[in-house]
């Protein structure tokens, strides 16, 4: 079990270095086990350095950088053992549009083998989807599901089109 775990860490690390570089367009990241401790007990330490910046602790990264680092790590785990489907709930909320575009490119790549269900308020993410469902509460407190096209989104999520136009 110890050997399996350290091998997994190595595979995740390799993925993490690559996924991070792709989502951050550069920079570098690493994960390693706490030294001098049994691998089955050791802390997993994360290092992340966006392009052009100096290595700082994870806490000093911005909200959006932390979210994207976390997404990179989740994708790295996923690549070791892909799950058949993946449900994401508003993970794009702290990201600026340029980061959302890179995130969506990666999702599109993985979507050949994994089915993605993405809950979002962001128009870019909606545009990237193959299928769009709207959840409404015409009767207060009672949820219903409708199929929507991108053009009727603003009736489902009021003002989303005008508001962000």
């Amino acid at each position: 079990a110890r050997k399996l775990f350290t091998e997994t860490i190595d595979k995740v690390r390799e993925n993490f270095q690559e996924v991070f570089r792709e989502l951050f367009e550069g920079g570098e990241a690493d994960i390693r086990l706490e030294e001098d401790t049994d691998p089955l007990e050791a802390n997993i330490i994360i290092k992340a350095r966006p392009r052009g910046k100096k290595v700082l602790s994870i806490q000093q990264l911005s909200g959006g950088e932390r979210a994207l680092t976390s997404i990179s790590l989740l994708f790295s785990l996923y690549l070791v053992k892909p799950s058949p489907f993946c449900v994401l709930d508003e993970v794009d909320a702290p990201l600026d549009d340029a980061n959302i575009v890179r995130f969506l490119k990666m999702i599109r790549k993985f979507s050949e083998t994994t089915q993605f269900v993405i809950i979002t308020h962001n128009k870019l993410t909606m545009e990237a989807a193959d299928v769009l469902y709207g959840v409404t509460m015409e009767k207060p407190g009672v949820s219903q599901i409708v199929s929507v096209n991108l053009d009727d989104v603003d009736e489902i999520d009021p003002l989303i089109q005008d508001g962000n136009a």
Binding site: F5, S70, I71, I118, T120, K139
Partner: protein, 165 residues
Amino acid sequence: MHLSKLQLLGFKSFPEKTNLVFKRGITSIVGPNGCGKTNLLDAIRWVLGESRMSVLRGSRLEEIIFAGTRDFKPLGMAEVSLTFDNHDQTVPSGYNEINITRRLFRSGDSEFLINRTPCRLKDITDMFLDTGLGPSAYSVIEQSMVDVLLSDKTEDRRYLFEEAA
């Protein structure tokens, strides 16, 4: 393996029988605040075996069942069914289609079914071991996971790595 259909009846804000058909690729779910999107995610977790109320955003299991609104009476049961296309035998069960159902009654009684055959909760969770689809695996991701993954307390992080191993 991929999701083909989610069905809810009496689950949280879905008192009426509701179907959600999933295609391959990327599905996006949109709608205003409070309309029921995250409740769909809760339903998927719950039917896959999640029972921790902290994860399902309640304090008593009974809160899973439609509690009624100003205009609708509360219901006595919550039921969620999730259907998978299993042609690639990701779950080596011999079935091409796997339908899992979970019910909870106000009395506290629960029912579990695989392809309409009554079973125990354990049979459902065992079926999905090794597919990356256990309720606590990284196939359901919400925004709060960002801080969990990057926090100094690294037990949650370790847990995900162990799932990937």
